[in-house]
């Protein structure tokens, strides 16, 4: 605890933020935050100066109409409205910042600044200084479009709901008059009032239906919007005719209700799309690719696309290799699991080739680029993606299919009704009214709501369990899946080696081993580090006098004149330490005084719930197959342990995609689950691609479903949810069709009065919504 005058702080970080806020005059933040506990700002960030590079500005910074710079940021660490207030105020106080607007719901911010006064790095530094973090994201055209669309729907819905509600209270007078008598004058007056209110609803709110009906007719598809548009428009014209001629009943209330209900259904679809986009931006967090190249004796940063064949590229440990090339200086281990699926790091030295898409674990190297970015392995894979995506079979959604034939049937029914009534001598007005009432009563309100309400319930069930569907329609496709293809590394297994066994031969100070493995990037050292932090106590760090990472071997360090070794068999051999121990697993030795004191056995552990999930999916009748880039031995070991009978090994990314294509040819509907770059082609060609949230950016881009918590349990949930939703859609469609089967003959017989049609329309919609909610309760209980 730190005491500073009257104030008490848990750490220096909090104290620092307090002083900063006091100097800026923003101290009222603490009152505004109330009893919210704030997270201490202890995290260290890398240098922010690369935010000022031209590559970065090219990608993320736009110039707005006033000539100021504008960028979209995602702010991390916001948990209450006081945080939003603080960030906005702190930025506003900066000289040069024109505007900062933070959205509390999705933590996205738009910042506008004058670039000749302040730089983006200074703005991000300020946000970090007050204890938050910010990173820019590409506010894609997709997002801007989704936002605009949503706002547009809001406006149209506001008008539609206003119109419908006001027409409803006027209609109460109409209906009362229908039963107890009403003078024609009053009736006309009420009709005019309704007509005035219905006009903007039909032509402003309903405009999207007219537009879509027009495109539908152009492409000769009878879609539901044609039914809505013709139904509403003819009812509207007929009602005007009635109002002028002072005979019969006007149907303005039906006009506005049809538009309003169907509009709400469409809006729900858009809403679910927008939520998915928000969640994706937050896990994205990807920076533009900057490469360091050697020019003369200086290292300069440049754009990936500017690197020429023959340039010398510098890669330090922990960085991604973005180009193909040949090592000319340095050596070390590379993680190629992203491309090959193989877990073991690969040791490379001068003369070996490096491949784009891999990551350096402990290697500091210079390599000569042998291909430019456009021809690199990584770009080739991405180019292949386009073909894979085009090959994706389109499963037509049931609701669309149904509504198409439904619309044509109803329209022809209405025409037939009109002619039958007219030829069976009735006046034009009566026959037209009956024909209209067929369209009104069959109004696809319930049908339009059936799918969106059900999918919305499904999507929100998924979101609560960390399952993100990019498109609502994928729920339906997924329900029809009969084959599941799983990647091994990172999907069935953890993807990182973990300690499975510990052998201690001699007592030693655990602190030393802890400090030794802590600063290493190597996955084995990380695995041991994780094991120690989870299983041991009193882990303090000691400062070594001398600390050397030996590439592809391990670590050596000196402490109080004793030499410590931590690493693999090779390191022990080189230092003349004898070992009599062997195992199938990867081994980590810890030695000092020329003796091994501890051995850790590590292996890529299978995820806890893998076996049980596979079992339950097989029980549901889903054929499960495993694909891996790994060798036969490790593939069989994992497959046996999880209970998968069919598996393919040593698969290249292309092989995986081809395998999925052959499954398609056999008429299967396939789900592919993966995480790495080596899976992207397969993910894109499968009917549904599911990716782990920890997967690579490209994999997340091409997939349809994202499992945010990386667990296989959510895969099972995804199947369950999609099947529940699908049965829900079917039920809803059945309800609305059954309802129409009863009411349409009544309408054709001329038995339907306006009141009945209005009430039955609402009841059928309520039934559909109520049915969807029922499933939600069932799920929450179970």
């Amino acid at each position: 605890m730190i005491v500073d005058g009257k104030h008490y702080f848990c750490c220096n970080g909090c104290q620092g933020v307090f002083h900063l806020l006091r100097d800026e005059g923003l101290i009222s933040f603490y009152d505004k935050a109330g009893t919210t506990t704030l997270t201490p700002p202890t995290q260290q960030y890398e240098d922010s100066s690369n935010f000022n590079s031209s590559t970065f500005y090219d990608k993320f910074v736009k110039t707005n109409s006033d000539g100021f710079c504008e960028a979209s940021l995602i702010i991390e660490g916001i948990h209450c409205s006081a945080c939003v207030w603080l960030n906005e105020k702190a930025l506003h106080k900066m000289e040069g910042v024109i505007d900062a607007n933070i959205n509390f719901t999705n933590n996205k911010a738009i910042v506008v600044w004058a670039d000749n006064v302040v730089k983006l790095s200074a703005i991000i530094d300020m946000i970090r200084a007050i204890g938050y973090n910010a990173f820019p994201y590409d506010a894609s055209i997709q997002e801007a479009k989704a936002n605009k669309e949503r706002k547009d729907y809001y406006l149209r819905m506001a008008v539609a709901i206003f119109g419908s509600m006001n027409i409803m209270w006027i209609a109460v007078a109409q209906y009362a008059g229908y039963f107890s008598g009403i003078t024609q004058d009053i009736k006309t007056m009420l009709n005019i009032a309704e007509g005035i209110l219905a006009t903007p609803v039909l032509f402003y709110s309903g405009w999207i239906f007219f537009k879509s009906a027009y495109y539908g007719m152009k492409t000769k598809v009878v879609n539901m919007d044609i039914l809505v548009a013709t139904g509403a428009l003819s009812t509207y014209l007929y009602s005007i005719y009635i109002t002028i001629m002072h005979v019969g009943e006007a149907y303005f209330d039906s006009v506005s209700m049809i538009i309003t209900f169907v509009l709400i259904g469409k809006f729900l679809e858009i809403l679910s799309k927008k939520n998915a986009i928000d969640a994706l931006d937050i896990i994205g967090n990807n920076f533009p690719s900057i490469v360091n190249i050697l020019q003369g004796n200086k290292i300069i940063s440049c754009k990936l696309s500017d690197v020429l064949v023959g340039d010398v590229v510098v890669v330090s440990s922990g960085e991604k290799v973005l180009l193909d090339g040949e090592i000319i200086k340095g050596n070390g281990s590379f993680d190629e699991s992203n491309l090959t699926g193989e877990n073991e790091p690969i040791y490379k030295s001068k003369g070996d080739s490096v491949v784009s898409g891999t990551t350096s674990i402990d290697a500091d190297i210079h390599f000569r680029a042998t291909k430019d970015f456009a021809h690199s392995t990584l770009s080739n894979l991405v180019a292949l993606l386009d073909t894979a995506i085009n090959k994706k079979p389109k499963i037509q959604q049931m609701a669309n299919k149904l509504s198409e034939s439904f619309s044509s049937v109803i329209l022809s029914f209405s025409v037939i009704t009109f002619f039958i009534w007219w030829l069976w001598p009735h006046t034009f007005e009566v026959s037209f009214m009956v024909a209209i009432s067929v369209i009104v009563i069959a109004c696809p309100c319930a049908l339009a709501l059936a799918t969106p309400v059900a999918t919305l319930v499904g999507l929100s069930l998924g979101a609560k369990r960390g399952i993100l569907f990019k498109e609502a329609a994928q729920l339906e496709t997924m329900a029809k899946v009969d084959t599941l293809v799983l990647d091994k590394t990172g999907t069935i297994t953890m993807g990182k080696p973990e300690v499975v066994k510990e052998h201690i031969y001699e007592e030693f100070d655990i602190k030393l081993l802890y400090s030794l493995v802590k600063s290493s990037n190597h996955p084995v050292a990380k695995g041991v580090f994780k094991f120690l932090t989870q299983n041991k106590e009193k882990l303090d760090e000691v400062i070594f006098d001398d600390f050397v990472q030996v590439p592809a071997c391990g670590i050596t360090a000196t402490f109080e004149d004793k030499k410590f070794f931590g690493g693999n068999f090779k390191l022990m051999q080189e230092n003349n330490i004898t070992i009599e121990f062997s195992s199938d697993n990867t081994l980590f030795y810890f030695a000092f005084n020329g003796k091994v004191v501890a051995i850790y056995e590590l292996s890529d552990k299978i995820k806890e719930d893998a076996k049980q999930v596979v079992e339950s999916l097989v029980k549901r009748g889903i054929k499960t197959i495993m694909l891996t880039g790994d060798n036969r031995f490790s593939a069989k070991k994992v497959a046996d342990e999880v209970g998968i009978s069919e598996f393919m090994y040593e698969q290249t990314p292309k092989d995986k995609a081809n395998f999925i294509d052959t499954l398609h040819k056999k008429g299967k509907t396939v789900v592919m689950v993966g995480d790495g770059v080596n899976d992207i082609l397969a993910l894109a060609s499968a009917d549904i691609g599911i990716v782990m949230g920890s997967g690579s950016d490209i994999a997340i881009d091409v997939s349809d479903v994202i499992l945010l918590n990386n667990s296989l349990k959510s895969l099972e949930d995804a199947f369950k949810i999609s099947r529940t939703t699908y049965s829900l859609i079917k039920q809803n469609l059945a309800i609305s069709l059954l309802y129409n089967a009863i009411t349409i003959p009544l309408a054709m017989g001329g038995f339907v009065i306006p009141l009945v049609s209005a009430i039955s329309m609402s009841v059928s919609s309520l039934l559909v919504v109520g049915n969807s909610m029922r499933i939600r309760y069932k799920w929450n209980k179970g």
């Binding site: 000539g67 409205s81 509390f104 706002k151 809001y154 206003f162």
Partner: protein, 68 residues
């Protein structure tokens, strides 16, 4: 009850209603409801200080625009 009373009441209520509707549409268009959470919390952070801040921000924008 004369017909004109019904007429007047209908007319007045529709006009009043439309005024409210247009105000709502304006607010929607100007982005006041883009963030529902922030909108609800805005009441808590509303005062003299905020007004001053907004004015200062406007002045700053004008000043910086001249320097561009």
């Amino acid at each position: 009850m004369d017909n004109w009373i019904v007429f007047m009441m209908l007319g007045a209520s529709i006009i009043l209603g439309s005024i409210a509707l247009f105000a709502f549409l304006w607010a929607l268009k100007s982005g006041q409801f883009d963030d529902e959470e922030k909108f609800l919390n805005a009441v808590k952070f509303d005062g003299e200080e905020e007004l001053n801040d907004a004015v200062k921000q406007e002045e700053k924008k004008k000043r910086l625009k001249k320097r561009l």
